[in-house]
Symmetry: C2
Subunit: 141 residues, 2 copies
């Protein structure tokens, strides 16, 4: 086996991407879904933190690069089809979402409506001292 073999076992889609779910390693809370390409996955492993591929900005996105809300990698899993990654992470700041919430999955369907369920841990305006376009968001864009 050479170094890159494990990257070849991932079934990258036509755009060279796979979805990656970040889950809190300690609590099991599902935090967010973003996308990775070969470079971002290799970089994640090398740096020990989640590095996604921003589809909107077309560049590597080191999660927390603006906010400081870095996701330290504890474990990386691959599914049976090889086309989805699961990242078990230590979420710094207890905030994964650009809205200032712990999890991006912050709405629950109740009585035919999406009801906000999660509190804002910190005001995004305090987190980001940059213009909105540079925010640590757009993970699914």
């Amino acid at each position: 086996m050479t170094v890159g073999d494990w990257l070849d076992e991932v079934q990258w889609n036509a755009q060279g991407l796979v979805p990656a779910l970040a889950q809190d390693a300690a609590t099991g809370r599902a935090l967010m879904l973003a996308w990775m390409n070969r470079e971002s996955l290799a970089t994640s492993l090398r740096e020990g933190r989640a590095v996604y591929w921003s589809r909107s900005r077309n560049r590597l996105w080191r999660k927390g690069e603006e906010s400081g809300h870095v996701q330290l990698l504890k474990e990386v899993r691959l599914d049976c089809d090889g086309d989805t990654l699961l990242l078990l992470v230590d979420q710094l700041g207890d905030i994964a979402c650009h809205t200032g919430r712990l999890s991006c999955f912050d709405r629950s369907l109740e009585d035919g409506r999406w009801q906000a369920t999660d509190p804002v841990v910190r005001d995004p305006n305090e987190i980001y001292a940059v213009r909105p376009a540079d925010r640590d968001s757009g993970h699914n864009a």
Copy 2:
């Protein structure tokens, strides 16, 4: 608000799909990622079980339709971008994967290799009494 409004709030992609992560409601274990379209999500809510859209078979896929390993819906969440669903489920049979394992995320990256970590709960040949093409799999195909 009319009945379908909550479906309109989901940001379906160009193929009319969004990824949906199934997570065990009791244990927090991440089980699998599959895809949903409007019809499958509406059907899931109506029937109280996870109903995905099979991209390989181009039809509704009632999870567990062959295996009996139905995912009873406990809660449905939507993320901040509106383009990813999180399903909190009660996984019947403690098997979500067509390989007979609890979770589809059954390989962990260790020492530069994907190492199988999860035991087979039940032999797939016992689960599926049908030809392989009809198996309750292909969720990411």
